[in-house]
Symmetry: C3
Subunit: 658 residues, 3 copies
Amino acid sequence: MTPPSRLHIGAAYYPEHWPEERWPEDIRLMKAAGLTVVRMAEFAWSTMEPSEGQYNFDWLERAIARLAENDILTVLGTPTAAPPAWLVTQYPATLAVDETGRRVQFGNRCHACVNSPEFHAAVERFVTAMAKRFGPNPHVIGWQIDNEYNRVCYCDTCRLEFQQFLRRKYGSLENLNARWTTAYWSQTYSAWEQIPLPIGPHNPGLMLEFRRFVGASYRRFQKRQLDALRPHLKPSDRVTHNFMGWFGGFDHYELTADLDLAAWDWYIGSGHNDPLAQGVIHDLTRGFKRKNFWLMETQPGNVNWAGVNNSLYMGEAHAMAWQAVAHGAEAVLYWQWRSALGGQEQYHGTLVDPSGQPRPFYQEAQWLAREFAAVSDLLSGSEVRAQVAMLHDYDSRWSIEGQRHHRDFDYVEHFTHYYRPLAARNVNVDVLHADQPLDGYRLVIAPALIILNETRVRHLKAFVENGGHLVLTLRTGVKDEYNALLPSRPPGPLAELAGVEVEEYYALEMPVPVQGEWLTGSSLLWAERLQVLRPDCKVVARYQRANGWLDHQPAITETTGGTGRVWYVGVNLDTAAQTKLITRILNTAGIPQIESPPGVEIRTRRRPDGEEIYIVINHNRSGTRVRLPWNGYEHIGKRPVQGTFELPAYSTAVLTRK
Amino acid sequence: MTPPSRLHIGAAYYPEHWPEERWPEDIRLMKAAGLTVVRMAEFAWSTMEPSEGQYNFDWLERAIARLAENDILTVLGTPTAAPPAWLVTQYPATLAVDETGRRVQFGNRCHACVNSPEFHAAVERFVTAMAKRFGPNPHVIGWQIDNEYNRVCYCDTCRLEFQQFLRRKYGSLENLNARWTTAYWSQTYSAWEQIPLPIGPHNPGLMLEFRRFVGASYRRFQKRQLDALRPHLKPSDRVTHNFMGWFGGFDHYELTADLDLAAWDWYIGSGHNDPLAQGVIHDLTRGFKRKNFWLMETQPGNVNWAGVNNSLYMGEAHAMAWQAVAHGAEAVLYWQWRSALGGQEQYHGTLVDPSGQPRPFYQEAQWLAREFAAVSDLLSGSEVRAQVAMLHDYDSRWSIEGQRHHRDFDYVEHFTHYYRPLAARNVNVDVLHADQPLDGYRLVIAPALIILNETRVRHLKAFVENGGHLVLTLRTGVKDEYNALLPSRPPGPLAELAGVEVEEYYALEMPVPVQGEWLTGSSLLWAERLQVLRPDCKVVARYQRANGWLDHQPAITETTGGTGRVWYVGVNLDTAAQTKLITRILNTAGIPQIESPPGVEIRTRRRPDGEEIYIVINHNRSGTRVRLPWNGYEHIGKRPVQGTFELPAYSTAVLTRK
Amino acid sequence: MTPPSRLHIGAAYYPEHWPEERWPEDIRLMKAAGLTVVRMAEFAWSTMEPSEGQYNFDWLERAIARLAENDILTVLGTPTAAPPAWLVTQYPATLAVDETGRRVQFGNRCHACVNSPEFHAAVERFVTAMAKRFGPNPHVIGWQIDNEYNRVCYCDTCRLEFQQFLRRKYGSLENLNARWTTAYWSQTYSAWEQIPLPIGPHNPGLMLEFRRFVGASYRRFQKRQLDALRPHLKPSDRVTHNFMGWFGGFDHYELTADLDLAAWDWYIGSGHNDPLAQGVIHDLTRGFKRKNFWLMETQPGNVNWAGVNNSLYMGEAHAMAWQAVAHGAEAVLYWQWRSALGGQEQYHGTLVDPSGQPRPFYQEAQWLAREFAAVSDLLSGSEVRAQVAMLHDYDSRWSIEGQRHHRDFDYVEHFTHYYRPLAARNVNVDVLHADQPLDGYRLVIAPALIILNETRVRHLKAFVENGGHLVLTLRTGVKDEYNALLPSRPPGPLAELAGVEVEEYYALEMPVPVQGEWLTGSSLLWAERLQVLRPDCKVVARYQRANGWLDHQPAITETTGGTGRVWYVGVNLDTAAQTKLITRILNTAGIPQIESPPGVEIRTRRRPDGEEIYIVINHNRSGTRVRLPWNGYEHIGKRPVQGTFELPAYSTAVLTRK
């Protein structure tokens, strides 16, 4: 994780599962595959500390050294997602408690309570020892803290911590009772100790704060590890965590704030890559720190935890790796190198099989490694630049997930519904936290931004005042930061800006027809009855005959008066109409688009010198022809390209203009 | 709840959620809508008693007064469905225990154990204080005890109470063991303390008694509140509880026995009103006390707790309110007036939105209020009169629900299956407890009356001997009051009366064809092989080729000998055949019917002076023409009507004959 | 259960449910039906021991005597599946603990922990008393221990026992940690006390051992009862347990090792008999002891515990009884004689209804009894002989069930998929434990034998070396006895024998086409990419275009070099292709087959004198004509048969050659 002098390809490697005699053969095969980095040790606590205070790091040092001799660098993980049996036996309160009130069993992973003082002590002691030993190691280029945070604990310690968290935030119970409207159902709290950890449906204010508390707990836990690590690291070392894409257990912006680098683990599970929908997760992850990121794990063919653990098509993982790079990845690591003979993940895909021989997939990784090597210098330092931003907000997501109102209304799907037409037009998109300033963008889309605060309202107003184009969608501006309804019609403080307010919203049991001058379609799941507030707000489309309440009422509006524009989209359009709407908005906002055949993705990364690199990926199972509007040079095949060129199934071209 | 001098329209109102400055505007809007009553305080315990013994009733008194100044009367609820945090913290044993053995969390409602002595003490103290303060208030016309009873508790107190309940009922373990056949699976009890609260499937005798025990617990709990209330009430005050229609957690006849008035909360949830099926719930509720009832809550457009919280069509709620009145309602209250800014029900329909402005639905309520005002005097004192009774029995329902034998055989659906053709012919129906005397009816239908006792057998025999027409259906007369099989072929003690017995019953995996002289159809889910016992019992229809056992055997019979008649229907007919059968029976029994276009309901209420009021409701989304066989006067529009007249979508006419 | 001098028909009978005055009538009806045996007392503990040490056996002795007077023999059950209330109240630790950590409630059955020392003591005491009283009784011909073992307990006693079980097996934690690869996820155990009882997914080694431990616990529990019983039994008495067919809670070979006789309870539940699939369960049960077995319970029409408790067609149970006999049953007992008036199974099928009169089904039992009587002597001592063996292995099943990899891949279905075409060709099959020697068979099929050990590898090699024909299927030879992956490509130690290895396996999200010289079809759920290792291994079929990895790779192979042959089937073929493949293999192996019309089953049992008895069963709802290639004698109708003869719906012919 030195600065991106190099585009890395690697794998998770667990030398502790194998006799040391086997290591040379594995490393030979890694080198032959072209791997440049491995991640190690993130589950090896019981090997590194077989009993309290007895450290056993030599084997790991030998592994790092032998890999380095073969030009393979190391990222180390702190193994805190897998506290050993001796630890949880000696300190039973380190075990998390689940929703049913029982201590989690030992025998899987993520069984610890991240608020447990005993666990904190053990983690600090161990991570300090590990950092002292490996921090200075020149072959270790970075660290991963823990692994895929996800456990939520309901123990008494957590309950106390939650109450203290609330006390710090609200100051007084009077304030909390007011913010949460606890007069409702006699929920009034007269002592902090009365407040429960919410299991199942609860007061929306309580539920939202609990999600924030989970994030704050992880952040504090992570900070302890960072504080233990950093004094011993080299200046170039970067520290990260491998997040899980759209996983919604906590606010990832909070968690990445203290890290140097964002990273995520990309698994398809059952089925296949849907590039128009998956691309947004890369952009989401890139947006955590607004920098390039790592793909810390991805599936070599198949996983073992889905209902149907089918394999990706031959070549598909190759295209996926390039998609990650096209969206800002600096490294792609497969999980894992070789199947452990025992343990829960015996059937997960790997590069090398239990017999120690390469699997068929090995060759696909080799292919990718050759290509990465060919363009590593070209891509070094390049970044994705976008004129379109989509605003993302965990609070809004949680607010909606806690009260969907329509069981099929999903924040992530709604977000993706707006992303997909942009992706189809090969438009670079930054996914930003909703509180970010918006200078420099031409178009901002804020899907279902149900929770508003002063910061985001101020930024959005400034953006439009400065000539920006803004798309607001249904469910926007309904609530405040405490998950309470705003005492105004939606979109509340944005109504004036949008020139429109929502008289009523409707969860739909069947689609409702929508018709405008240039738009015909229907709204699914949701429809809002709009009332125009300003003369410069034009009705783009109206409902046709529906449930009576909606008939002939405005469904989509557009302000046309100022330099900037605001669309309010009170409907959830079918795919065809959505594409039409978004394309129209892109054109109005003057956003450049790139035509490409179906299934072919064309993305750009900009070099520090300003040169654009075009990454052209064929996500199809068959070859296709791509037409270039300019003469270029293809850097993998090292050949000039002009007019049309052939792109075989799942393959990639990396081009610059001549 | 003074005697029905007036047809009320109202809403649930929670002034405690709002600053007092807002009240005048809300009350102004209520008055403008035409509301005549509000229900208040049923969840306001923590506001009325912020800590033990510290009462805070002034605000409520001010609210009652201000409403009264605007001609809006008040019903008060005792807030015992929402015990405050301080109470459950001080007395932890007041919290109910769920089926998994855990105390219910604070933070929702209905979290108390209704058998808890500490809870009893707190409730009595509080209700007494509330009754003293508001009982004499002239603007308070009635009281609601608690809210939608539903919690079942599995705590140790409940277990002890259940054992004592059994001891009182059975006297000796010997008797209990015999009634429950505990020799089976060695279930013999040698001490009362051995008897468990049943979780999951258990001995049918135990399961049935537990349901009865839950009802007895609620009745005792309710009685304590009544005893605390009544000494302080005015003579005209009526006390009620808002039941939940077909909710089957306890015997509603038991619970209403001590109340002055029955009431229920009508919610559609997802989808729309099915008038032919929903009408029976009004009749059920009317039957609890054989008097007019209140609709204490109903949905203003949409709810918030269903999978898809779609809105009713514009006008649909209006037709529903009239349907309630047509079936005997004296009042219709919407839940609720205005969305609380916080709390679990933020997205529930209301008349006024979070911004404090009327929602679109407000106008529909206004429309209804105008009409109620127009006919209030006319309807005053009028009641539904019926010549047809359907016998209803919680014991039979529970017996079947505990052992459906066919997973899709549902007591309520079966009951409704018999109700629907009656409703389509606009036949008034009384739904009676199965033990009621049957004098005065011409036709009695007893669907799936699986549990027989001496009372109901005696009444049914007397009814037929006196010339009554009786329909018995499948699963009748299989069990005794202890949920034990009767040592006889079904319908057991009614076999002689019916002239038929059931040789065998069959849960069906596919429909079985049924054929008679004037009936062709098929039986779904269930079929009984009948054996005719008497020469005057005629086979109405036989099975065709089926599973071998049923082939060509009798399926439906009719006794023809005496003055009265008995049909035994051993099949569960498809809709068309069911309609044919029931129409035939109506004609044979000489029950008057009223023709109406599809979706148009015509019901009668009889005034004390004997005059019939015809309430004609168009449940369709479009207007239709209705033909009158006589000249009439329409009291809403105040105009004479003759021949055919137009009834717009979802609108209602209230007619008398000229 | 004297040696099979007689083909028994009987029923479960519970005289303790009825007043003694009723017994004579029941016994009269039994005799009229032709019953020759009853099973009694297996749930009568509370009747036989109403309080600790107070025995009440007289009633049972009277019942046995009265039955015997009517030529009806008795099998007694030990009632340990139903410990009485007094017992579990006095010794609370006898109650099992479920997966959620709660003691099982009293009130159903199987509520005891089979490792509880208190329960052991109570059982030994009671069974000894029962054995002393009834062991010498001349009318008691056998004993059933307990009833349908199935409870799994998670109490602390069980946890300690499990840890001791592991300690005995593994000797050292070092060994256990190595076998289970506990370095993975830091699962390393440093004390036996750290090892949990697995709830939900866990380390595959741990999960497999827990299944074995459950079996070992039941075996020990059963052994205690056997030791208490046997000293008091007559030499001719046989002891059995009524297993539940494919129920997979423990290794049935382990459990039957100590018994004299295997028996099972055959229930269809919902739907109807699928004879080609159900036959294998008889063969499975026969294989437990490689001897004839009893059908201890079967359904007289319908059960009460399925979603839809439909009845079997008239005659269907008759054909099923004959199917059992054709596969080696010596007795068929219906459950139960008469419906108890109370208890959980009120609606289960019986021969006599609650009124005490025969149900329609009674006549079907009577028909069967007449036929059994007619051929009892003929069948006496006859046995099923097979040239085809299918290898069955609980370890392999559990290994796959714990990690299906494809949610629809089911060991039992896969096994049945190979059995079905054999059954359609009327080929007798022995289902053997996978570790049995294979001498004497011509064809062996080993479906999904994922776990290999030295014994089974040695037997398979010897079998092929001696000219045997062997079919290996997908997922074979992947793991060792510790559920760890073998460090080799599948089928591991059988690769050389098969001449092929598996380069990669694929769980399929859609079918993959497969094509060979004489085979066209597709593979569902699973496909393996094979690599041929030996020149005498011929590719029988290859994949067509699929996911890229599989395209044109070998799918099925056959070794052709030696005297024996090995097929490796890397696919899960559609039904038509599977039939084609298996028929081809049968022909290659020279296995005799019998043609029969669809739905007609023809099975043979061989008499001690070598004569073949042909049992011809029409499983169709209509009559059909069967053609005999030889002249025969039909023993039920007592008439010669030649050429074709008519077999009515669900009826049976028992033939020998003339």
